[in-house]
Every structure is written in structure tokens, then in C-alpha cells.
Amino acid sequence: MQLNAEKTKIMCFHETTQVRNARETPRRSQGKSVWPAPFHILSMFPDYTNPNSRPHTYPGFVSTPLQEVKQIDYLGLRLDPMLTMKPAVASIQEKANKGHSLALAVSYSLRYDKHHSNPTLCRSPVEMLNLWKSCVLPHFLLYIRYISDASQLQALQASLNRSLSTTLHVYGHPTALLAETGIPPLYITQKLQLAQLRFRLHFSPPATIQHFLWQLWQPLLQFVPLNTIETRMQTAVCHVDMAHRDPDSPMPQNVNMAKILNKEKSYKKYLESQCSDQWRKHLELTLSDPPGRV
């Protein structure tokens, strides 16, 4: 098996300016300028279709330099060198906008196209809500756990509110609209996902790599910065499920009774009930004496 050099990129995380300058400038060695070796792939099988392939100094090897990029999509999540997550947020908003356009186009088609004209569709909010939930909402929720900055989360929340309002043609109080449609605010969903992730890592099978890494991290957790995902997971558990902040404490009845493969789903159900209470308090604070669901 050979890596495809065209599809392989390189990106240096958390690289300081000094290190990058040192990497990009030659250094003097024995009176000669020696350039640092670029990132490359060594292969024993020359790829004649790739013009970047060149013979290596060692016979029988071919070296293909890799392209260094400023951002890259890894499993759908757009990463940047300093992990500011700004490109990731922009990517989420771009995908959500496309989904929003799709939902509006389908809505328009259902209402006005001749072969299935139904002008009363706009009067049925549940149809539009289901359409929006399938086209737009998943983009906001998929990578929400990796967004650590509160301002970025607020920007995503504003985009979500705007998209939901324009889809349903309801321009009232955004928080009340979220409550009516059963869509929790993103910060609550983020806490739920982080708590769920900690459950998944802690109760993963002992022979897996993720369990090994998780156990390896445990003694070091008190030394890691506050914005790391491990710390944020622990904080989220303290917020939504204070009773189980110690992962070894006994789990709720429905989680214990569930099958092994369903334990995480049961724990998520339990967390949703906890988050509902938290969301209700949030609504009572945000909408003083609201007319809606509370």
C-alpha cells in the first residue's frame, strides 16, 4: 500500500513564528547553506503519473514533497494551524446556508410547482420544521463540541435563529421560537454532547486505543489548560449531570439496565431530561412570564 501524495497535505499545529522562520530559512553548515528537508513521502514504487516524483539520494526510493496548507478538512471538520476554529465556524455556516437554501427551494417547489401545488403548505409549520431539521440543523450540531469560544458559539446561534425564523416565517422572540419547536440552544446541546463524549471514552472497551489514551490522560488532567476538550468535558458534566461528575459513580437505572451497545444512548436520554430542566430555567430567566411553553 502506498500513500497518495496528491491527497496528502501537511499542516503544522501551534507552530510559533520563530520555529516557522527557522524551518523556512537555510542554516549554515560547514560554510554551506543547508535547507531543511521539506515534508515529503518516500516510496519505493515510482509514480510515473506524478510529475513531482523525483529520485531520492538513496537508490530505489522516490521522494514526493507534500503541500503545506493553512487549513484542512479532517473528517468533515475544518482545522487551522492554531486551532482557532474560525475556519470551522465559517464552514459550518456555509454548509448551513446551503441547507437553508435547499429547504427554501423545496418549500417553494411544494407550494407553487404545478405537479404538486399546495399553497397551504406555508400554513403548516410542522412540515417546514421537519424539512428544516433534516436540511439545516445537523450542520449546526455535528461539530459543536469542538467550538470552545463563546463568541463563535453565539455567532452560530444567531445563524441558527435567523435560519429557523425565515424558514417558518415567524419573526418573534428567537428563544421563544426555539422553545416552541423543541430545539435547545446550542450551548446546552454542546454540554450534552461533551458529557456524552466523556461517557463514551470512559466506558469504551478496555482493548481500544481511545480507552488507552483516555486512561493515559487521567493523571494529567489537572495540569492541562482550561480550554482543552478534556477539561471542557469535565466542566460540562458538572453543569448538566452534577451527580455523576465522578465517572465511577453509579449510573442511572435506565443506563444500568440497557444493553452494552445501548448504554450511551440511554445515558443521552437521561442527559436530555437533565438539560430540559436547565433549559426551562434558562427560559424562565430569558422570558419573564412567557406566554408559550413554560
Binding site: 417558518l168 418573534g172 419547536t181 406566554p291 411553553r293
Partner: protein, 280 residues
Amino acid sequence: MYKPAPYLTHPSCPYQLELLRLRTQQTIHIIPSHLHYAFKAPRADYQDRVCKHCLDKGTTVLGDEIHIICHCPATKGVLHQFTAKFQGLARLLDLPPFASFTPHEKTRMVLGNPPPQVLQKGLKVWIMEATPICSEFAYALHMHVTSLLPAVVDMSSDDEAVMSSDSNDDFSPILLPPGFQPASTPPNDTVLVPLDPAGQQMIGQYILFNWPTYGWCLGKISACNTNPKCKVSKQIVNFTVFYPDDGSSGPNCLSLDNYNVDIDNDSPNHTWLLLEPSTP
């Protein structure tokens, strides 16, 4: 809380959207306590968002949902109209009589919240039976409150006289092109109806049209529009007008609503005037 509100799960119900808008505080002119969400006016304190209908009669009351739906003399009639329906609904669901509910409970019920007595197994019946009634109530309340709003600013006769004298002072007539004079009477309404064959009578007539930036331009009606999809500002075009000044022609929506009856030079843009050849 992770599911939509019960009334939203009804598959198809008229005025369901109206109920959603009322509950999400969109229709701010219905419930005065929601007025703080109006972006045009400065935000008032909650206790100052009083009911305007009661304020006109010298009473200062907070205009919240309970007051507007149950107490306000100007609007509580809507609930009286629906009392029989809600009474029947309470009987169907084995609830206490609707009249025995407190105003707070009535408000919650008519806005689509199931009373605590409705158990989980009865929720489906509640959704199917209560949602149409609550939605219809929301629509009726909306229409009733809208009908109470003043349509135009009421002016006294003295004010009208002042306004008319002011407007006469500022009046400046249109400078007409040579050889033309305003038509003695505006055109008949029927000839201006889009797609109407009677519009053929207007072909060849001269008009003055007030374009933004360019001002009053002389034009000649060259054709009637026959395409219902040809629209300008969501209105079906009725005529194509040729403008000899720049040799262009374009679609126009000529109606009596934007006819310049006063021959006023300062009339708004997109107004027009029918011309006829002046007699020597």
C-alpha cells in the same frame, strides 16, 4: 422540551401558524406587554407596557396576555365567542368546567397549553381536538385587535384647514410639454385593468410619468400587455410605454392609485398624468 410543543404536532390545522406567531410574541401589537420587542420604539419598562384600549378610557393596566384575553373590555369578547367551544373541549377531555378555570389557566389553555389534568394518554386527543380551536381563537383575536387599531391619524377640521392651506402654498404645477394639456378627466378604471381588452383604447395616448432621478418624462402608450407573468413590483404590467426623449420603451403599471390628479410637480415618484393635444 426536546420535542415540539403539542399543538405543533397536529398534521394539518388552519391558522396553526397564527398560534405559533402569537406564542412567540411576533404580533406585538396584539399583546402590549410584548412591545419591548418592537425595534422601532425605545424599549419601555415592563410595568409601562399598558393596555392602550384601557388607557383611552383612563385606566392604566398592564397589557399582558391575561388582561388582553380575559379582562380587557375591548378584547375579551373574543374569548366569550369561543367559550362554548372550550367548554365542549373540557367536557370531551373530562376536565373541570371551563368557566371554573382561573384567568391564568384559561389563558394557558386558549394559547394551546394542555391543562395539568390532561394525562399523557389523553394528550393525543388534546392535540387533535384543541389545536384547531386554539388556532382559530388566535386568528380571531388577531383580526379583532387589528380592527381596533386606528387606520389613519384623526385630525380636527382646523388641522385639515391648516394642512390644506399649507399644501396650496407649496403647490407648483407641472411644466407640460408644448402642444399638450392635461386630460380633462382621468381615464376610466376599466381601461387600466391589466390584461383587459378595453385597454386597447389607451394605445396611442400620451402620458407624463414621474421617474426617479429623471423627473417628468413624456411617453406614448405603444402596446397593451398580454402576459400575466410580466410584473413590476409584484403588479401585473398593463401597458408598454415609449419614451421619445431617449428612444426607450418599457413596461408600466398605470393605475388610478398613482394618478396625479392635482397636476402637482412635487407629487411622488411613479405617479403619472394623462395628456391630450392642446387646442389652439
